[in-house]
Symmetry: C3
Subunit: 337 residues, 3 copies
């Protein structure tokens, strides 16, 4: 259903540079867009694409508007405005209320009549599924879980047990939430399993990526704040706390009982050891290893970029002889003095 | 069902400092515990919580007993004793024998009458499921597998084919065992797949984490010893051997044909290259990269902790000029001599 | 069905050193092989196994043939020839055409009569499943997907939506293809989700490992070339392009919009940041971090091998004092001049 630029400008608080009656029906990249499409421009490296775009309109900053060959919805945050318009033009699939004939709902579960339970889905005892939720095909929602209104489990998601999900959460396929934490006590005869009895509490508006795992707590809960964004293949161990609006990129691991502040960003393949705290507004770059508390906001790093292997190996060899160079410098200093 | 401290002391070989008739019904953290709860104390940093706990009893070392405001079950290994008592107080969910109407069991499979096969589970030809096993909802157990007595696949677990699981194993959701190893032969026309014909043999009392993958062997089997503990999102490649009672933390990867000894501990995000051996009793710290044989027990490391990115970038630049400082020192030495 | 060495030699273009009427029925490792088995030899470290093998025949290079105590199929690329013969002797499980009674196929999907749809599988609207495809138990194939002829999803695979798979592709359990990319726009109120509207296009003869995730594109498609091999637990983010015949080992992550060339090899746990390009024929070693364009073919590295932790910690301390040694050398140079 195409929408006029005038309506979009009003609804999303943009100034409009162009004809308010022009209509757009979908979003597209600058290079692929055609008539009826809306693009966006934020990255000056794509300036040549902006100039050449065939889109009917773009979302852009004021200072970039002049370069556009089409109508411009002017925004201080073009990417966010574009995201909101794209959500309007391309809403999530509608919910089809009802329990599929091949789903299994425990008699002691409570599923809202407006919720959709897909084929092969299983809902355990004591679980509550809120209004307009979607539990997709093949999902397993174990006992004593709670899905807030408008939350969606796409497909093949597992909530093992005792998982509370807030409202408007989105969980991608293969994610496993509420499996046992990795708790083992060493004895001379081997490991003894430490029962994992806590649950997982997840706030509102949280998105959890494909094949990510969030373990239940040992005695108390693992806690994910509101508005948190978690990418694919992330590991969040038992009793971790993740603060509101923090984003965790793919393949990052957070070990047991660590606390991550609000509005942090952990880039891909980062690692956080157990039992530490990271304050609010910390950015950890890719493959960074956080091994003790971080108490100051800022950007932190610890990974080396690749080099040709011959160069790299020579540097590693030098690195291993750092003692040698320090010793030689000390010897030289002694002689000189 | 609450149990008296006297009975717990007898059963678990603890000295009891307190009233043997006091009963505890559940475990809890020191700070959350109330009357009827059992806590434990091992970490001196939590001493203030011990002093203030409202638990009816705690498990603690002899030297810490005096500080507790409640009864104490005295143990040399309080964490293990606590784990055992917690297992008694909070046993795993009971097994409900029978094959769910929506499960699919191949006519050539053999499932013990005492086993539970959940909705949507599929059991392949030639597979044997032992006494009191649980194959949870959505699990796929392919052909020619064998589950030892009392083993459990929680939900959405895949045993692709030819996987032998010992007794009392516990496999968490999303784990995939017995998928093809990554075997490819290079040719001028591209990769040729090398059929992966081995299986996976897993010992007794093994726990395998959510979304972990353990590939089948190429010609012979991949082998996991007794009492091994594997966390979430771990990768164990074809023909790897993991020794008894070794623990592998989340996101660690072990490449093809490597052998890990007994009682090793691989911390999170560690990597082991292919075709090497690690002896018994080796600890590899987080993000450590093992690229050749380790023949001596001990702790090994190779990761840098994060620093503020400006400091880090300066260090990386220095690192890349290590040749320069070595050369300059050599020049200075020549001049001096 | 055993095959004569004469026939194998003809079919695979090998010279035969031995009796053409000897038959082999299966492949085996040199050490486990017995009469009727075929082994292969490429690794000089296994020379003693070659000499002692009880195999009826081996595939080997001309220069190694003399050492074999059995017939030899001589090949310039013994591993590839062995792989092809092994595929002939151990073909994939046959396809059993038909839709299982417990599968759910949308009325607007089109499934070839020769395809096999397993129990619990779900096929969405607008999806086309080609000839002789296998959609295994528990797989979810969402709307608007296309599976080329002879492609197989083993079990519990998810194609979320709008995924095009070429011919003869093999997708292992737990893989998730076409889930939303990680697109979020920051605002003062928190993250705004950027709808992910692209799909995933995958070429012919691609193999995708267990629990790997390949996200759909944001506006345009994520693209995987022909003959690509992807191992387990790999992350391929939105709008990545992977060139033909590239191999990506386990736990490697490629961030959004990066382009990987043809015939590259990314070893385990490697990371590629977003929005960069890697040219053809690049090898990145294990745990390597690629943070900017690579324009020259070659081998690249950036990981340190483990050392005993005491040595490692001393080196890290030295590393952190690199400024100091540079400064001291400069001071010495000044004094000398």
């Amino acid at each position: 259903m195409p929408i006029s630029l005038g309506e979009l400008a009003t609804r999303f608080g943009c100034e409009l540079d162009g004809d308010p009656d022009t209509r757009v029906g979908q979003v597209a990249s600058l290079s692929a867009a055609g008539p009826g499409d809306l693009g966006f421009f934020t990255n000056s490296r794509l300036a040549s694409q902006l100039v050449a775009t065939r889109a009917s309109a773009v979302v852009a900053r004021d200072e970039d508007a002049a370069a556009a060959p089409c109508a411009v919805l002017v925004s201080d945050n073009p990417y966010a405005t574009f995201a909101r318009i794209a959500t309007l033009l391309h809403p999530p699939a509608p919910v089809h209320p009802g329990v599929h004939a091949r789903a299994s709902v425990d008699p002691d579960a409570r599923v809202a009549a407006s919720a959709e339970i897909g084929p092969g889905a299983v809902i355990g005892a004591g679980t509550v599924v809120g209004e307009r939720c979607v539990v997709g095909p093949g999902c397993f929602v174990g006992p004593d879980c709670r899905l807030g209104d408008d939350s969606r489990l796409v497909a093949n998601v597992t909530l093992a047990r005792q998982v509370t999900l807030g409202e408007r959460c989105l969980v991608h396929p293969g994610a496993v939430i509420g499996a046992d934490g990795f708790g083992n006590a060493m004895t001379p005869e081997g490991w003894v399993k430490v029962p994992q009895l806590g649950g997982v509490r997840i706030g509102n508006d949280v998105e959890i990526g494909a094949n990510t795992t969030i373990d239940c707590g040992a005695l108390e809960d693992t806690v994910i704040g509101n508005g948190v964004r978690i990418d694919n293949l992330v590991m969040i161990a038992h009793n971790v706390h993740v603060g509101d609006h923090t984003a965790v990129a793919a393949m990052t691991g957070i070990a047991g009982s660590s606390h991550i502040g609000a509005r942090c960003m952990l880039a891909g393949q980062a690692g956080v050891v157990g039992h530490i705290s990271i304050c609010d507004d910390v950015v950890v770059s890719g493959q960074g290893m956080v091994s003790k508390d971080i108490t100051e906001p800022g950007v932190y790093a610890s990974s080396f970029p690749v080099e040709p292997v011959r160069d790299w190996n020579r540097r590693v060899a030098r690195f291993r002889r750092l003692d040698n160079v320090f010793d030689r410098v000390t010897a030289l200093e002694k002689k000189q003095s």
